[in-house]
């Protein structure tokens, strides 16, 4: 399968900043796939998206998008991509219908085709009954959905979605997920950045975990699970002592008890032990969140409130 995006030794240091936002990134994003970029705020996800979508110059390395050098041939790239920038807001003086329709016209689309695509996407995204509502009168979640509709209605082959479901309720998230799946079925490539690991896992055929501007791990969700030492999690009450648990795996304190990352056999043994003592216990395969915790040593959400994403 051809690469939609190929980055080699890609690096970025912002002017007036001592620290690198991206360091030596090597990534290949296959065409026709949904690719998830996950990481904490400030990890470098948005910087990568902005470079690949020709909004930002890299400091070093090379990047090809849809077969074109994104640095030297930005126009060839721009003709075939669409982006929802992080924290972007729709033009508030338009209705949802105008927003989508005029976005397509702005990209140069014929009127009839723009009309057809607008009606189609508003129906698919559950926005048809609000088509004539002014954006300024919508909730934050609906505004975000309108932005997503705008991008999906385009004829772009490669879609960059920078945290598209932030602030959406669960039902609206599912509608965006469905739109992403339709895009993939239609042969488009989607580069998705997200904090929601369930979202990344549910949608992405491959993932890259970025931390401090570096790719920590990359592969299919199954590959990534296979690379961690402890593929199971067991939660236990605080009445057990930590010293009893350390031989089973990696123990950490959580609200109301203990979380133990363990291999399958150790996890089963620990569960039997707890059940034998009539204690509440839960055993499950680890989530992406757990993988992040094991690989990075701190949870994905740590530092989010600081709002440290630099670009």
């Amino acid at each position: 399968m051809a690469d939609a995006i190929r980055a080699e030794r890609l690096g970025k240091t912002y002017p007036h900043s001592k620290d690198a936002a991206l360091v030596g990134i090597d990534l290949r994003i296959p065409a026709g796939s949904v690719y998830g970029l996950i990481g904490r705020n400030g990890a470098g996800k948005t910087t990568f998206v902005r470079i690949a979508s020709t909004q930002l110059m890299p400091s070093e390395g090379e990047i090809w998008v849809l077969g074109h050098d994104a640095v030297a041939e930005p126009r060839s790239v721009r003709a075939r991509i669409a982006v929802i920038p992080q924290e972007s807001r729709p033009l508030y003086f338009l209705t949802i219908d105008e927003l989508v329709f005029h976005h397509l016209r702005m990209r140069g689309m014929e009127r009839a085709e723009a009309r057809r695509r607008t009606d189609q996407v508003l129906g698919q995204m559950g926005l048809a009954d609000r088509a004539d509502t002014l954006v300024s009168r919508l909730s934050g979640g609906l505004r975000r959905r309108a932005m997503v509709a705008m991008i999906f209605a385009s004829d772009a082959e490669l879609l960059f979605l920078d945290e598209p479901t932030t602030g959406l309720d669960p039902l609206a998230r599912r509608e965006v997920w469905a739109a992403i799946q339709r895009a993939r079925e239609g042969g488009r490539t989607v580069l998705l950045t997200t904090h929601y690991l369930d979202e990344a896992e549910a949608l992405s055929s491959r993932l890259a975990l970025i931390e401090r501007g570096r790719v920590i791990v990359e592969g299919t969700p199954a590959d990534i699970r296979g690379r961690v030492k402890y593929p199971f999690r067991v939660t236990l009450p605080a009445s057990l002592s930590q010293s009893e648990l350390t031989s089973y795996g990696e123990v950490s304190g959580v609200a109301g008890g203990w979380l133990v990352f363990a291999r399958e056999e150790a996890a089963r043994e620990l569960t039997r032990l707890a059940l034998g003592r009539n204690l509440a216990v839960a055993m499950a395969p680890i989530s992406l969140e757990d993988i992040f915790l094991q690989l990075v040593g701190r949870p994905l959400t740590e530092g989010e409130s600081a709002g440290e994403e630099v670009a």
Binding site: Q55, E87, R89, L91, L94, H102, R107
Partner: protein, 255 residues
């Protein structure tokens, strides 16, 4: 992108930002005419009507300069607050099309204001000839062009909409209020008159004053016969220079 698609793109941007908001809130139109008419009112009143015609020309120039400051504010708002420019950068829309579309939208806002000044021009003096009308039209077109280029260049450096609140009035002050735009250049003491010609609006006003048959300032150098050609030369040169500056310095893809 083909030229046809470029034109479609340009008009869509102008329509989105210049027609739809006015349909929803027609009071926007009053905003563009408020300052130019206020100056006209006070200058005409204070001069007991003797400066009414120069002030009408000044009103036309200020209306067009306001396009540049409005463009600067809109560009900054769309870039910093809405992240709309990021969306446009990563699309087939090219920078000149985006800026021209927004500049055209600002021009659409200014049409009612300009119409008032044109009506006043026609109503308060001898009927203008075709050459006068062409002079006024081309001069205002150049003012629109240079103020838009200046607005775009400044906007790419602003990181907060509040900066435009500071620079917008300063640009208006430096380009239209202090220089001889609402009043004849001959009102300035001869020793300070060269300073007035630092503002491109001075050349535009000088051309308008001639088209209004008000008499105009002496050229800075050369015989009086050369005054109008020198005004055109300076205005076209400054406009071209500001376009070059915009093309070279304005930041579309960030460094």
């Amino acid at each position: 992108m083909t030229d046809r698609r470029r034109l479609r793109s340009l008009w869509t941007i102008a329509f989105m930002n210049g027609v739809i908001p006015v349909r929803r809130q027609p009071l926007y139109l009053l905003n563009t005419i408020a300052s130019p008419l206020s100056f006209l009112f006070f200058i005409a009143l204070a001069s007991r009507g003797t400066l009414l015609r120069p002030a009408i020309a000044g009103g036309m120039v200020l209306t067009m300069i306001s396009i540049g400051t409005s463009l600067q504010a809109d560009l900054t708002h769309f870039k910093q607050d809405m992240k709309f420019q990021d969306l446009v950068v990563a699309s087939p829309v090219e920078a000149p099309i985006y800026v021209a579309g927004l500049a055209l939208s600002e021009f659409l806002y200014s049409i009612p204001g300009l119409s008032v000044f044109v009506a006043l021009w026609v109503a308060t003096g001898p009927p203008p000839g075709i050459l006068d009308a062409l002079t006024v039209g081309f001069t205002l077109l150049l003012v629109w062009a240079f103020s838009s280029a200046l607005g775009f260049t400044l906007a790419t450096y602003f990181e907060d909409i509040r900066e435009t609140f500071v620079f917008g009035p300063l640009v208006s002050l430096g380009l239209t209020v202090l220089p001889p735009v609402y009043y004849p250049a001959t009102f300035i003491p001869a020793a300070y008159r060269p300073l007035a010609f630092l503002s491109p609006a001075t050349y535009a006003a000088d051309l308008l004053h001639r088209a209004f048959r008000l008499g105009a300032s002496e050229p800075l150098f050369g015989p009086p016969l050369l005054a109008a050609p020198l005004d055109w030369l300076a205005l076209i040169g400054i406009t071209a220079g500001l376009f070059l500056l915009a093309a070279k310095k304005a930041r579309w893809r960030e460094p």
